[in-house]
């Protein structure tokens, strides 16, 4: 048996959080489990900063674990590790509250899965990691155990399990087509002419659910706001990126562009506008996440250079969205006008970056991806900034409405989103040349500046209008809501006529009859003789 070959650090980055997670189950550590969380992403962060050196293989683990870092993986790994670290620090005030040991244990499991998705070179490691990040995050969502959280959890677990199955089947089809477990070969095989469209469709389904692809996003606006603030931050900043990266890894170049691009754009605009009907600032942010993810999905669909730069875009969004969610928590812990203003100012700065105001991290991200886009899709990207500006201004308004109570260590709490915000702006600047191929001077050209400025400017009048004359406020869950309303109507039809009642009745009858049939089979004295004869007859009739 060979424990591992190649550098140990990538393996350690995955095992370490799992070990810490196991430790949180130890009775003496349970009350202070949250204290361990900031340690969990440290090896991964170190790995991302130091860079990978070759392939790590653990041939006996699972079906042969292989891990590697390239530029894209490294960027996403670094962003993820940093966000989880800051979110873990923001989770510290949870120490001593009920159920935090369970929360901490699964926090570590989700983290390990999230990192594994970016490190995995083989499909089984990828699948295992994805399952961990997908299913274990249920515990982050239901943590508060309110009726709302449990409802969100129910919706989430059903959709997530369906996604798991789609993913497993899709990956099996890919692995069979490639005759290999290597991710790269599977993508190539799925892209080969004559390969199975079903496989790609299932993969898009599985990853799309996680990435918030419209119309598979319905769980997201329920689940992200339901989690405690640090949980929302990682869900919206890092965990959705697992789905996005899955699309980048497995969907072949050029395949499904005509599907992914329109759906992405529908998400980008639709979610941003629907978000204006939300009162809860976390729900507004969740819709903003769907909107931003829609853009990234569109980029994947566009292919080519745009697709290559998706990780650069994701880096900014992950850090910025994490900062915004944490700011909701900080606002809840502030009552004085000064502190509240400080919060609002920081939120405004980060929002401006997400909207892509010139020279912000967001502007850099958009400028980098735009080079790879056709004219019309570049225009769509610019227009989406209008929608983004709208929803984020609405978010700022909702944030300001929140009433908080002063809590201890406010400065430290405030420092965390501030740090993420700084990273979200400086990160893209530091990596700009490497990811865009241009020097910094490109960013100061009039064209680039105007390109970034006009969408935000256009957004201001409608934003003022929305703030003045509010849209109707709705609970989160758009399509589910519409579906629910439709079902509600169906029930009001006289019972025997309603489709739903019919289906229920048929199901009950089928259940009753199948049980009765089996009951007869078991009781019936002749069963033992007759059934074998029936089976026999069946085989004898074969050609």
């Amino acid at each position: 048996m060979t424990p591992w070959i190649g550098p140990f650090l990538p393996l350690a980055a995955l095992i370490w959080p799992l070990l810490l997670g196991a430790l949180t189950a130890m009775p003496p550590l349970r009350p202070v489990a949250v204290r361990l969380l900031p340690l969990a992403p440290v090896p991964a962060l170190w790995l991302a900063l130091a860079g990978g050196q070759g392939v790590t293989a653990a041939p006996d683990l699972l079906l042969g674990v292989t891990l590697e870092l390239d530029d894209a993986r490294r960027l996403l790994l670094g962003m993820t590790a940093a966000l989880w670290l800051v979110a873990a620090l923001a989770a510290q005030p949870m120490t001593g509250r009920p159920h935090t040991a369970i929360f901490s244990g699964f926090w570590c499991l989700v983290l390990a899965g999230n990192l594994g998705v970016f490190l995995a070179l083989d499909v089984v490691t990828f699948y295992v990691s994805f399952a961990a990040v997908s299913l274990a995050s249920w515990f982050l969502i239901v943590h508060e155990r309110t009726e709302k959280a449990l409802h969100a959890g129910r919706v989430y677990i059903v959709i997530a399990l369906a996604g798991e199955v789609a993913l497993l089947v899709g990956l099996i089809i890919g692995a069979d087509a490639a005759q290999s477990m290597a991710v790269g070969e599977i993508r190539a095989a799925l892209g080969a002419p004559g390969s199975s469209a079903v496989g790609i469709a299932l993969l898009v389904l599985g990853f799309g659910i996680k990435a918030g692809l419209v119309p598979l996003h319905v769980w997201l606006p329920l689940a992200h706001p339901a989690a405690p603030v640090p949980g929302s931050a990682v869900l919206s900043g890092a965990i959705v990126k697992a789905g996005l990266f899955g699309l980048v890894l497995f969907v072949p170049e050029g395949a499904l562009g005509p599907v992914l691009m329109p759906l992405g754009l529908v998400g980008a605009f639709g979610a941003a506008l629907w978000g204006l009907t939300q009162a809860n600032p976390k729900a507004v942010l969740a819709y903003s996440t769907i909107s931003q993810m829609g853009l990234m999905i569109m980029l994947v669909g566009a292919g080519g250079a745009a697709r290559e730069t998706v990780p650069f875009f994701a880096l900014h969004h992950g850090l910025a969205k994490g900062a915004l969610f944490l700011l909701v928590g900080v606002m809840m812990a502030a009552s004085g006008r000064g502190r509240r203003l400080l919060c609002l100012a920081l939120a405004a700065a980060v929002s401006a970056s997400v909207a892509g105001l010139p020279l912000t991290g967001g502007a850099l991200a958009k400028a980098a991806v735009k080079q790879g886009l056709a004219d019309w899709s570049a225009l769509a990207l610019s227009l989406s900034s209008v929608a983004t500006s709208l929803i984020l201004i609405w978010f700022l308004a909702r944030l300001w409405q929140m009433q908080g109570r002063d809590e201890a260590l406010w400065g430290a709490r405030f420092a965390l989103p501030a740090a993420l915000g700084v990273l979200a702006v400086t990160g893209p600047w530091l990596l700009w040349s490497a990811w865009s191929g241009h020097g910094p001077d490109y960013l100061f050209k009039a064209d680039t500046l105007i390109d970034a400025l006009w969408p935000v400017a256009i957004a201001l009048p409608p934003a003022a209008a929305v703030l003045r004359w509010r849209l109707p406020q709705l609970p989160p869950g758009d399509l589910l809501l519409i579906l629910g309303a439709w079902r509600g109507r169906a029930v009001r039809i006289p019972a025997p006529l309603s489709l739903r009642a019919d289906a229920d009745g048929a199901l009950r009858a089928a259940r009753r009859n199948s049980a009765r049939l089996e009951g007869i089979l078991i009781r019936w004295r002749l069963t033992g003789v007759l059934i074998p004869l029936l089976v026999l007859l069946m085989f004898a009739l074969l050609p």
Partner: protein
């Protein structure tokens, strides 16, 4: 000396059985020492044998029973896969059963027949010829009956009668199949495939069907499954024996032998009987899950889950593509580990909390954390969540289905995963997220009950975590298929 090894392995179960029958109820120590000792010695012998067989050795012994009737025992890789599973689980079940039965009556009868069952199962695994296989197979049928009827109440007796009602006609059918086939080919040894060219295809198809009915009844293939859910009235260690250690596994193992060593893959493909069998297995997988969904008793739900899961094995070997065979063989072990965990836990809930129905599980996670963790591991493994063993089987079966040009297998696997989730997730939710009734009495101060469950759950996790290593069930299944079936 090495020729005697198969006999020694059989004796490690037979001797305790023979002596136990004559012990008085009070001889707890001697009885326990005999049974545990037998299981431990057997385990040691098997480890030695695993090493030897991995190195390429095989062992064979012939015992003349009557003129023209030879009991041929042979140890090959496939036999060892089954023997190691049943021996390991026998040891765990014995420890569990000693604690579970405590001072309940009729223990000598119980442990005597229990060891006899294990003896028969070992014999089934080691049989080198069709007739030896049949002898042990029938011994298993008969020695299981007193165990199902153990409680001697009306329900147990009814279940035991139901079991015989299924088992005896099927045994007859199996005998007819063997006589019919051997009358044309002469005695069939598993070592060299028989020459079937003298038999016309139509008869061969009928004989194949007779075989499948004969052995498939124990594997609870629908419609021959009715006895299994009914037999859940038996004590928990018996359920473990039925569902994991011996009976259903013997059925699945029988199907493997019939396909690969009696007919041979090529012949099965030529006759076109593999696909109908795979279809029947698929139907069983789905139907079993649907029925499991409707059960409100824990053990009954688990029983239908077995109906469904055992057919994964049948599906794999019937598809006969390389990955499917490996997946099916590995699932023989994986299903055993996961299902025995679940039944151990169901027994603990019954004994320590008086809980038999699903509603009773509310909030037990807090009160019985070890048991509930093991139960959760077993359940999640059944759904196919990594890194527990079940997902490895699923990946292999899925790829195997595509290799066999049967993409519908993926739909079956997908549907089965969702159905498994539908009938296991609510249980987990109750365990961990509901509040326990204030007056409930529940504890798990029974290390001899919880210990085996923990060991089995751990094994199920390790089988998945270390699937790629040579010593995992998957590694061994790969070795079998490379060595014996897919040259």
């Amino acid at each position: 000396m090495t020729g005697l090894l198969p006999i020694f392995i059989l004796l490690t179960s037979l001797v305790p059985a023979a002596i136990t029958f004559f012990l008085r109820q009070e001889s707890y120590r001697l009885r326990n020492a005999l049974n545990l000792g037998g299981a431990v010695v057997k385990g040691a012998l098997i480890v030695a044998m695993l090493v030897a067989v991995a190195g390429g050795a095989s062992f064979e012994t012939a015992i003349p029973l009557a003129p023209g009737l030879v009991l041929l025992l042979r140890i090959d890789a496939l036999a060892l896969l089954f023997v190691s599973l049943s021996a390991t689980l026998w040891l765990l079940t014995t420890i569990y059963a000693i604690s579970y039965l405590g001072e309940k009556p009729e223990q000598s009868r119980f442990f005597g027949f229990f060891s006899l069952c294990v003896f028969a199962t070992t014999g089934i695994a080691l049989s080198g010829s069709l007739i030896s296989f049949f002898i042990f197979f029938e011994l298993l049928t008969l020695s299981t009956w007193p165990l199902v009827a153990h409680k001697q109440d009306a329900a147990s007796l009814r279940a035991a009668r139901g079991y015989l009602l299924y088992a005896l006609p099927c045994s007859t059918i199996l005998l007819v199949a063997i006589v019919w086939l051997e009358s044309a080919t002469g005695p069939i040894l598993f070592t060299d495939p028989p020459d079937l060219s003298g038999v016309d295809p139509a008869s061969l198809r009928v004989i194949f069907a007779l075989f499948i009915v004969g052995v498939g009844m124990k594997a609870a293939i629908i419609p021959l499954h009715g006895w299994l859910p009914a037999a859940m009235v038996a004590p928990a260690p018996v359920s473990a024996l039925l569902h994991a250690v011996a009976v259903v596994k013997a059925g699945a193992f029988g199907v493997i032998r019939v396909i690969y060593d009696v007919f041979g893959i090529e012949r099965v493909a030529e006759l076109g009987v593999g696909t109908p069998l795979a279809a029947l297995a698929s139907f069983t997988i789905i139907w079993g899950s649907l029925r499991a969904l409707q059960q409100t008793e824990i053990k009954k739900r688990l029983a239908y889950s077995t109906v469904s899961q055992v057919s994964y094995i049948i599906l794999g070997v019937a598809l006969a593509s390389p990955f499917a065979v490996i997946g099916g063989l590995a699932h023989l072990v994986h299903q055993g580990l996961m299902k025995i965990t679940l039944f151990f836990c169901a027994g603990i809930y019954d004994e320590r909390a008086g809980v038999r129905s699903i509603e009773g599980l509310d909030g037990l996670g807090r009160r019985m954390p070890w048991t509930s963790t093991c139960f959760s591991i077993g359940a999640l493994g059944m759904i196919g969540l990594p890194p527990i063993a079940g997902f490895v089987s699923k990946i292999y079966l899925g790829i195997g289905g595509l290799q066999a040009e049967a993409p519908w297998v993926l739909a079956v696997l997908g549907a089965s995963t969702l159905l498994n989730a539908a009938y296991f997730v609510p249980l987990l939710y109750r365990l961990w997220f509901r509040e326990i009734a204030p007056d409930a009495e529940a504890d798990e101060r029974a290390p001899a009950l919880v210990g085996p469950a923990v060991a089995a759950a751990l094994a199920a996790v390790l089988a998945g975590m270390l699937a790629a290593s040579d010593i995992s069930p998957l590694g061994w299944a790969t070795l079998i298929s490379e060595r014996d079936y897919l040259e």
